[in-house]
C-alpha cells in the first residue's frame, strides 16, 4: 500500500541518496547456491498441519487464540491466494512474499509459523526472527483492516517481517507503535523486498528496477512474458495509477505496491494481465505505455527443480 503523503518529501530526499545503491543491488542476479532447505508440496504441508489438531495457548502471543491461529494457517495452505494484507496497510510487499512462500514452500511456512507461535522465535532461511514485545502484543489485536482482523497468524507473520527487515524507508520509524502498519514503519523499498526474498527463501532470483527509475527495458511486455515462462513474477508498481484514489492530475511518480503477475497476453495494442494482490486475482487491460509507466521493478524467482517433491 501507499505510504502517507507527508513522507513523500522525505522519501524523495532519502531515495536520491540511496538511488545508486538500490539500482546496483536490485540489478544484481542473486543466486542461492546452497541447497539445504527442502521445499514441500502442499500435500505435505496439509498433512503436517492436520497432525496439529490442538495447540496450547502461547504465552508469547497473548492476543492470538490457538484455534483461530490454526484455522488461519490451514486456510493459507489450502487457499494460498486468500492471504490478505489488510485495508490501508503497507503490508503489500510482505503479502507478495507470502504468495511465493505459500506456493513454493508451504511446509516451511507451516513449520515456521508453529515454531514462532509456540516459542516466540523461529528461523527461516538465513534469518532468525525474534519479534519485539510490542509486536507480540499487537499481533491478533489489529482492527479495521477487513479480513486481516480475523486472521491472527497473518498479523503475526506480517508484523514479524516488518519488525525484522529494515530498509532506508524505515530509518525514521524503526519502533512499532499501534497504527504503524499503515505508516513508514511497514513500508518496503525494492532493495529490501529483494533482500527478504534472498535471505528467506531457497529460490533462484533476478531483479531489475529501482525505487525511482523505470527499468531500462525497451520492450517490457516481451521481457515480462518471456520471464514468466520460468517462474514467479513480482512487479513493483505505482499504485496511484493502477488503483486511483483521487482525481488529481498531479501524481507522484514513485512505486508503492507489489503485485504477483500470473498471466500476460497481448492482442493488437492491448495487454491483458492477470495479477494477484489484496487476497485475490484481478484481470485488467492496459496499453504497453501504461504498463511501462507503472512498472518500476521486476523480480523473477524460480523454485529450484531438484527441491520439488510433488
Amino acid at each position: 500500500m501507499s505510504f502517507p503523503k507527508k513522507y513523500y518529501s522525505i522519501f524523495f530526499l532519502i531515495s536520491g541518496c540511496f538511488l545508486e545503491t538500490n539500482i546496483a543491488r536490485a540489478s544484481d542476479i542473486f543466486r542461492i547456491e546452497k541447497d539445504t532447505l527442502n521445499a514441500s508440496a502442499r500435500q505435505l504441508a496439509i498433512a503436517f498441519i492436520q497432525k496439529t489438531d490442538t495447540l496450547a495457548r502461547s504465552s508469547f502471543w497473548p492476543n492470538i487464540k490457538p484455534a483461530t491461529f490454526l484455522e488461519n494457517i490451514k486456510l493459507n495452505i489450502n487457499k494460498p491466494l486468500s492471504i490478505y494484507e489488510g485495508v490501508s496497510t503497507n503490508f503489500c510487499g510482505y503479502a507478495a512474499l507470502s504468495y511465493i512462500l505459500l506456493h513454493d514452500d508451504p511446509l516451511v511456512y507451516a513449520k515456521f509459523m508453529l515454531e514462532l507461535y509456540e516459542h516466540g522465535e523461529a528461523i527461516m532461511g538465513k534469518v532468525t526472527f525474534r519479534p519485539s514485545p510490542e509486536i507480540k502484543q499487537a499481533a491478533g489485536s489489529m482492527k479495521f483492516k477487513g479480513k486481516l482482523d480475523i486472521r491472527p497468524a497473518d498479523q503475526m507473520w506480517f508484523l514479524s517481517l516488518a519488525d525484522h527487515f529494515k530498509g532506508y524507508l524505515n530509518l525514521f520509524d524503526k519502533h512499532y507503535d499501534a497504527g504503524d502498519e499503515d505508516k513508514l514503519w511497514a513500508s518496503v523499498n525494492y532493495a529490501k523486498f529483494n533482500r527478504m526474498l534472498r535471505e528467506l527463501f531457497d529460490e533462484k532470483m533476478d531483479a531489475v528496477g529501482s525505487d525511482l527509475i523505470h527499468p531500462a527495458i525497451s520492450d517490457l511486455y516481451e521481457y515480462i512474458s518471456s520471464k514468466m515462462k520460468t517462474g514467479t513474477m513480482v512487479l513493483y508498481i505505482n499504485n496511484t495509477f493502477l488503483y486511483k484514489k483521487t482525481h488529481s492530475a498531479l501524481k507522484l511518480a514513485v512505486p508503492t505496491h507489489y503485485i504477483i503477475l500470473q498471466n500476460i497476453s497481448k492482442a493488437d495494442d492491448t495487454i491483458t494481465m492477470i495479477y494477484w494482490d489484496y487476497g485475490g486475482r484481478s484481470l485488467r487491460q492496459l496499453t504497453p505505455r501504461f504498463l511501462k509507466r507503472i512498472t518500476y521493478g521486476i523480480t523473477h524467482c524460480t523454485k529450484k527443480m531438484n527441491d520439488v517433491q510433488e
Binding site: G146, T246, R281, R284
Partner: protein
Amino acid sequence: MMCKSKLYLILFTAIIFCACNSTQKINTKYYEENEKELNNIEQSFKTLYTQKPFSIEFTDRSFDFVSIEIMTDSIKYIYEFGIDETRLKDTLLKYTLNEKGIRDIITKMRSIHCTWINNLDYYVDEQKSSLIFISMRPVGLSKPFTNKKYYILTYFSQPQYFNSEGKLLVKKQRNKIRKINGEIFWRINDKVCYTISARFR
C-alpha cells in the same frame, strides 16, 4: 502604497482561509439536499450487488469514463469505458449483469458527481458485516487549497453506535471509535454516516 499592499495581503489571506474551510460547510447538509438520489443509488446498487457483485468508479474529473469491477469467485475483472461506448453494454451483458440497472446507476451517479460505489466488508467480534460505500466530489469541495475533496457516505444495514460528538463507534459499551479506510465517520442518522476525505476509495 503600503496600505494597499496590506489590503491585498488581508484579502488574499481571507480567500485562502475561506477556500480551506469550505469543507466545513458540507456535512449533513449535502446528504439532506441529495437524500432522495443518494438513497435511490444505494438501494439500486444493493439490489443489483446481491445478484452479482460489482463496483462502479468514475475515473476522470469530467465523469466521462467509468471503471467497472466485476467480482467472480475466482477473479475480479476490471474494465474501463467511455460512458457512451458500446463496449460497456456488451461487457455487462457478457458477464450477465443487469445492463439496464447498472446503466441507470451510472447515470444517477454522474448527475450528482458520485465517483465510486462499492460494498465493503468489515468485522465486529469476528463476525462479518458489510456496508455500502459511496464517494462524491461535490462542487463545494472542489475549491483550490482544499486537500479533502471527497464527501463519503457509508450505509450500514444495522443501526450503529455513536458517541456524544456523533463519531461512529465500534461498540456502545467500549466507546471506541471505528475507522473505515483510515477515516473517522460522523452520524447522519442511525444507519448512515459521512466523512470528508482526501481519497475517494
